[in-house]
Symmetry: C2
Subunit: 440 residues, 2 copies
């Protein structure tokens, strides 16, 4: 195994794991101390944010060297991460031809296909012979890396067909490209959202897909490894939103404290204001609580059960919508399922809750002599609240999607807040029905 560099011994992998824990100064020192060869591999493994951070700490010679070392799309990403005032200087360090490529890339939004693509790909003409194409690709291979597919373009850069390097390799030398190419090409419009680009890759399982503009002219390629990052990013955003906050734009340890507080305070305030309605609702039932303080005991238990079941339903549905397992038109079917689920789950909790009250050693002193009626009130309320939580939690993402909003905004805390207010109303209404004449 001496020649084989396994994960345990890969210095790049190890350095990457510890990288985010270093200070800016340590990063610069560590990077400068890497042996030649390793520093190139390591630099390529960093993301655009880290590229930009290092770039700002580099001296002028290093800036020039490393910026020119990157492929045009990675250089464009680095420049996008720089503060406004440094961008012009960075662009000026690059040769005219590549600068033009980069400026074209900078015109795309980061989260659309054009912003993900590389403008470097291997192109051939349809009337070329396979033997000619092989020689030609061999020349281009010195400048384009990696090469997975060969794209066949007409003189206007219109995409006519594609074949893999492997297919070119096994094609008869005397055939024309137009005869051996695949002319049913899956393409990506340059303005397609990155989430949708990710789904295209999952459906088609290619290593790279060509990006075309509205006229069908080829602009570049998006490769599968870019999509892996995108899919992680999108999942991170959804998870953070599900926690009831705005998505952070950077890893947790790197977000400045004031920015993190801002991202969390917004939703927390909104939820707090929503939750204030619980105080208003409770005021309507102050008389009941005064007469039967025992009712207050179960308030947290009942409303949290609604929140928990709502949180389950909403996370399931949000993820299923994101993965396109569910469509908008499925809402009826989902509602049916959640009604059944809600009644079952509510029934289970009701049984546990009632047993707890009915079999509690000092039940008569803890829950008054009408403890059986209290148990029934708690049980029926639990069924109602869990049912309501499951249905609201499941329907809210559908509602948001149909309003063209992000379903992931239906966070667990948001659903819990909605359910809390209603849960109180359900609980005290059941209590009024069952306990008037005894406790009330």
């Amino acid at each position: 195994m001496s020649e084989i560099d396994t994960q345990e011994t890969s210095p790049i992998a190890r350095l990457l794991e510890t990288w985010s824990h270093l200070t800016a100064e340590e990063k610069l020192q560590t990077f400068r101390s890497l042996p030649a060869g390793e520093s190139e591999d390591f630099f390529l493994a960093l993301d655009a944010r880290e590229h930009a951070a290092l770039f700002q700490d580099f001296n002028r010679a290093e800036r020039r060297l490393w910026l020119r070392f990157l492929a045009p799309d990675d250089a464009a990403d680095l420049i996008q991460e720089l503060p406004e005032e440094l961008r012009g200087e960075a662009l000026a360090m690059i040769d005219e031809k590549i600068r033009r490529e980069i400026i074209a890339l900078l015109s795309y939004r980061e989260d659309e296909a054009g912003g993900l693509m590389s403008p470097r790909f291997v192109r051939v003409r349809p009337d070329m012979l396979v033997a000619e194409a092989l020689r030609y690709v061999r020349q281009q291979a010195l400048f384009v890396d990696p090469i997975h597919y060969i794209y066949v373009l007409d003189s206007n850069q219109r995409l006519l067909g594609v074949l893999s390097l492997r297919q070119l390799f096994v094609s008869p030398a005397e055939k024309r490209m137009s005869e051996v190419m695949e002319d049913k090409v899956v393409t990506i419009p340059d303005e397609m959202d990155q989430e949708q680009v990710g789904r295209m890759f999952q459906q088609h399982r290619f290593v790279a897909l060509p990006v075309v503009d509205r006229e069908g002219l080829m602009q570049g390629i998006v490769t599968l490894d870019d999509i892996l990052d995108v899919s992680q990013e999108e999942a991170t955003e959804d998870i953070q939103k599900l926690g009831g906050q705005e998505a952070l734009d950077a890893p947790y340890p790197q977000v400045p404290l004031p920015e993190m507080i801002k991202k969390r305070a917004g939703w927390l305030m909104l939820l707090f204001v929503g939750e204030m309605f619980t105080a208003t609702a409770m005021q309507q039932f102050e008389g009941e609580i005064e007469k039967a303080v025992v009712l207050a005991l179960f308030i947290p238990l009942i409303i949290s059960s609604g929140g928990n079941s709502g949180s389950q339903a909403t996370t399931l549905i949000i993820r299923s919508l994101a993965l396109r397992e569910l469509r908008l038109s499925d809402w009826r079917r989902v509602m049916g399922r959640e009604i059944l689920t809600g009644v079952s789950l509510g029934g289970i909790l009701a049984a546990i809750g009632m047993v707890r009250i009915l079999l509690w050693p000092n039940r008569a002193t803890a829950y008054t002599e009408h403890y059986a009626l209290v148990a029934l009130t708690v049980g029926l309320s639990l069924i109602g609240v869990v049912l309501f939580g499951s249905v609201v939690g499941a329907m809210l993402p559908f509602l948001l999607r149909s309003l063209k909003l992000d379903p992931a905004s239906a966070s667990a805390p948001f659903v819990a807040t909605l359910v809390d207010v209603t849960g109180l109303v359900i609980y005290f209404s059941v209590a009024r029905m069952l306990l008037t004449g005894t406790l009330l």
Copy 2:
């Protein structure tokens, strides 16, 4: 654009989107009605679960045809998804040589590198000339698809080096493979967990990585497109656990109702039993509520604010740990951040809550003549509860990880339940301190 098949018009993509909404019978009919050529592409785009479902509905001739059509790793996945009693029959349909490959693959767990890998790759000997290797690869290219890398193995199948098809292509014809290959190879142990395999791909950005056993013998390759599915799956699992439930093993619409209820009931019951301590805690403060019913009004508001801030913290930390942005040893630093964040967020909510009480039109009747003291009680409790929620929510994932448990089990509802009980104790303790002598 007539020759170019864009996403809007791709029949395979469209069919995939609607596929999960068809009944088994409709799926079989639709699949059988696909034109030749398209049915192959479509079948390859389906996942193992769908392969197995179709397989069971196929007639004998179709079973044989489509099972043999799949690559060995995909066939192994299909067989793994079949009910026990069908597996022998399926294996018997396959030729001896490939059957042996498949049986070897079946010995790996689905979620380890060996379970993800394909046993098909292009291998050459180190003493081959580049010109020979090119001819040899050309022959193998008819059977192996796709080809990204050429692996150099000794006669014992020990992995010595690797080079990409592109590199082979541009290498001088008279050199030996051992001279042009890259001998620092990143490899994956065959028993590595799929989550870690995903991280290897993110660090190294290769299209495929070789899998070796403990002796360093090459077993197969894992390709980037498999990893895309894995990364989606892992994110889905984490999201579902964050919602306070066991991860479903299949898309929401396909999970039978009893199974889904079972997966949700477990955690819901556990949370419910935990939440019962709120009733016990409340009993200790029954005297206070009896004297000052106004205190009951703010119970849901206060405990839910703790739950919400805990939910934010826990989702941020769980995701950061999953992405390896944070390590176990970072817990102190995170605690420091969360204390500052908790105090700030708690302060903001306290301000809103106090303003609401102090400026409410009929504050004296709604919140008694001591409404200013009530406001102070609510405000201080909010700071305490939000601080507690943020710190507990952030520390719990670290605690679970250090106990070798899955941090994602620290779901938002779980944290909320922990915080609810403590929140009540904080609230009534503050009330006792501030209100004894006036309201209490």
